[in-house]
C-alpha cells in the first residue's frame, strides 16, 4: 500500500474512526506516515490557537425577537436591493450608459457630455444604497426609436440559436468564446437581440418638489439650467449570448451572459456633467462619504464612478484584448463580471463564475 494522503492524515487528527482498516494498519506499520501524521497534528494544534476567539453564548430567543422587530423595509427591501446579481446589473447599467461615442447619433439640440476614459470604483454601503433618492421623481422619461418597447419593457427583437441571424439583425460583430469552463454548456447558447433606442429624461423642478412634498421632504432648488433640460442616452443595438451554467445546487441564478453592444451615447441639451454632479450630489440621501468619493475623482467627463457595494465585491482594472476594462467579482463564483470598450463596441462577460473564469472567457472571444 502506498503512503497515506495528507488529507487522510489530517482527518485522523479530528476523526480517528473515519479511516478504513487498511489505512489504520498501514499507519501502524509505517514510520514515514506516522511522522507525517504527527507533523500535521502539530500544525493543526497551532492553527487551533491562531483561530481561537472569545467563545460566545448568543441568546437565540432574543435574536429572533430582534429579527422580527426589524422593519419589513429593512429586512427585505434593503438586502434584496443589495444582492450581488441585482447590484451588479445596476453597476452594469451605469457603465453601459456612461460609455459614449465621440461622434454620430446626436440630435442637433444635444451635445455630448460624457466620454469616460477610466472606470473608478466607488464603494457604497448598504445604508448608502437604502438612502439613495429616487431620481425618477425628478422628471419624465420617454423612449423612442425602433427598440423603444424592447428596452422599456424588457422584450427582445429576436431570440435565436443562430449567431449569423443575430449578427444580421444587430449589425454587430457578436464575438463568441473560443473556450468555456467545463460547467458551461456551449450547446445551450441563445442569442437575444435588442434594437437601438433613445431614452430621454427631462428634468422637471415642479415634479421633483411635488414628489418631495409627498415624503414631507424639501429638496434643494433645481438650478434653472437643469429645470426643463434633457439628458438623452442612445442605446443599442445589443446582443446577449446566454449560456446555461451547470452548478451542483441547481439554483436559479442566471447563467453566463456575454454582451456585445454599440457603445451608448450620453448627451445633454445644456447642462454639463459638472452641473448634474453638483446638483445630484446635493440631494438628501446621498451620503457625504459617497459624495466625497465622487467629487475626489477629478474630471467628471473622463472618470466614471461605478458603484461597488463594499460588503459584497471588489473591483480592479484588467486588460481585455489589449483594452482597459473593469473586473468586478472574486474567487467565490457567486457572480463576476468584466466590462471593456473595444472600438465602438462595449462588451461584458458575467455569470456565476470566478473572476478569473470570466476574464478568461472575455479574452477568448473571437469574431467570425
Amino acid at each position: 500500500m502506498s503512503h497515506l494522503a495528507d488529507g487522510t492524515l489530517r482527518r485522523i487528527f479530528d476523526e480517528p474512526n473515519a479511516i478504513s482498516d487498511h489505512e489504520r494498519d498501514h499507519l501502524a506499520s509505517c514510520a514515514v506516515c506516522a511522522a507525517r501524521r504527527d507533523a500535521i497534528a502539530d500544525d493543526a494544534r497551532t492553527v487551533t490557537k491562531l483561530l481561537d476567539v472569545p467563545e460566545l453564548q448568543p441568546d437565540a430567543s432574543v435574536a429572533l425577537r430582534r429579527l422580527r422587530a426589524a422593519p419589513a423595509a429593512v429586512r427585505f427591501s434593503s438586502p434584496r436591493a443589495f444582492r450581488a446579481p441585482r447590484w451588479l446589473f445596476a453597476a452594469a447599467a451605469v457603465v453601459l450608459v456612461a460609455f459614449t461615442l465621440t461622434t454620430t447619433g446626436l440630435a442637433d439640440s444635444f451635445i455630448k457630455i460624457f466620454e469616460p476614459k477610466q472606470f473608478v470604483p466607488v464603494t457604497v454601503t448598504q445604508a448608502d444604497l437604502r438612502a439613495m433618492p429616487d431620481l425618477s421623481a425628478y422628471g419624465t422619461m420617454t423612449w423612442s426609436g425602433p427598440g423603444a418597447a424592447q428596452w422599456q419593457k424588457g422584450g427582445t427583437a429576436l431570440k435565436t440559436t443562430d449567431v449569423a441571424a443575430a449578427r444580421a439583425r444587430s449589425g454587430l460583430a457578436v464575438p463568441t468564446p473560443a473556450s468555456l469552463p467545463a460547467n458551461v454548456d456551449r450547446s445551450s447558447v441563445e442569442y437575444r437581440v435588442l434594437d437601438a433606442a433613445r431614452a430621454t429624461f427631462t428634468f422637471d423642478a415642479a415634479k421633483a418638489r411635488a414628489a418631495a412634498a409627498q415624503q414631507n421632504a424639501t429638496l434643494p432648488p433645481m438650478p434653472a439650467n437643469i429645470d426643463g433640460s434633457s439628458l438623452a442616452v442612445d442605446v443599442g443595438p445589443l446582443v446577449m449570448q446566454l449560456y446555461k451554467v451547470d452548478r451542483a445546487s441547481g439554483g436559479d441564478m442566471p447563467g453566463l451572459v456575454v454582451v456585445d453592444a454599440r457603445a451608448p451615447v450620453v448627451s445633454s441639451t445644456g447642462p454639463s456633467v459638472r452641473d448634474f454632479e453638483n446638483y445630484l450630489l446635493a440631494q438628501p440621501g446621498i451620503s457625504p462619504t459617497v459624495a466625497a468619493q465622487i467629487r475626489a475623482l477629478g474630471d467628471p467627463e473622463t472618470m466614471l464612478p461605478v458603484p461597488i457595494p463594499i460588503d459584497y465585491a471588489s473591483a480592479r482594472t484588467v486588460t481585455v484584448h489589449g483594452q482597459s476594462g473593469l473586473l468586478v467579482g472574486d474567487s467565490t463564483a457567486v457572480f463576476s463580471v468584466v466590462f471593456w470598450r473595444e472600438g465602438d463596441a462595449v462588451r461584458a462577460v458575467g455569470g456565476p463564475l470566478t473572476d478569473a473564469e470570466v476574464l478568461a472567457i472575455a479574452n477568448s472571444l473571437r469574431q467570425g
Binding site: 472569545p54 438586502p79 452548478r247 445546487s249 467565490t332
Partner: protein
C-alpha cells in the same frame, strides 16, 4: 448541495411562503452556530451577530426552513458573509478588534498581544483564497467533516485535503 451557490441565488424572484414555526425551530437550532462561525472570522461579537441576522433574513426571504439543505446553507452563508464583512472592514479601515471589551480584566500586555495576533490572523484570512478561509472557519467552528462538506458542496473525502492545504496557507501567511 452547493449551499454557497444557493446563498447567491437571490434574484428578482418572489419570496416563497415561510413556515414560521419551522423557521423558528431552525433559528433556535442553528443561530448560535451561525454566530460562532461569523465570530471565528470577525472576532467581534456584535459584528458576528449582525452577520447572523443578515444570514437568517436572507434565508427566510428565499428558502423554506424545512429544506434539507437549510443548515448547510446557513453555515456557508455565515462563513462567506463574515469573510465579506472582514474585507469590507479592511477597506473602510475600521479599527480592528472592537471586541476587545471581552478582554476586560486581562493583563494589558497579554491583551495587547492577543489583539495583535487576532489582527494578524484576520489579515491572513483576508489574503488566503476564500475557499481555504471558509473550510478553516467552518471546521474550527466545530462543524464535522460531513457538515463542512455539505456547506461547501464537495465530497466529505475532500475535506481533509482542503483543510490541510488551508492550514498550510494560513501558517505560511503568518510565518515571521
Amino acid at each position: 448541495m452547493n449551499a454557497r451557490a444557493l446563498e447567491a441565488a437571490d434574484g428578482p424572484t418572489v419570496a416563497k411562503p415561510v413556515a414560521s414555526t419551522a423557521f423558528e425551530r431552525l433559528f433556535a437550532a442553528e443561530y448560535a452556530r451561525v454566530v460562532r462561525i461569523a465570530q471565528r472570522v470577525l472576532a467581534d461579537a456584535a459584528e458576528a451577530e449582525d452577520v447572523a441576522q443578515e444570514v437568517f433574513v436572507s434565508f427566510e426571504r428565499k428558502h423554506r426552513a424545512d429544506e434539507q439543505y437549510a443548515a448547510a446553507w446557513l453555515h456557508a452563508a455565515a462563513a462567506h458573509r463574515a469573510l465579506n464583512a472582514l474585507r469590507a472592514r479592511k477597506r473602510r479601515a475600521v479599527r480592528e478588534e472592537r471586541g476587545a471589551r471581552v478582554d476586560v480584566g486581562v493583563d494589558p500586555h497579554e491583551a495587547a498581544e492577543r489583539s495583535e495576533r487576532r489582527r494578524a490572523v484576520r489579515d491572513a484570512l483576508r489574503r488566503i483564497p476564500e475557499r481555504s478561509a471558509a473550510v478553516l472557519v467552518l471546521r474550527y467552528s466545530g462543524l464535522s467533516y460531513a457538515e463542512v462538506a455539505l456547506a461547501l458542496g464537495v465530497g466529505v473525502g475532500q475535506i481533509g485535503t482542503l483543510l490541510r492545504r488551508a492550514e498550510e496557507r494560513i501558517r505560511k501567511e503568518l510565518a515571521p
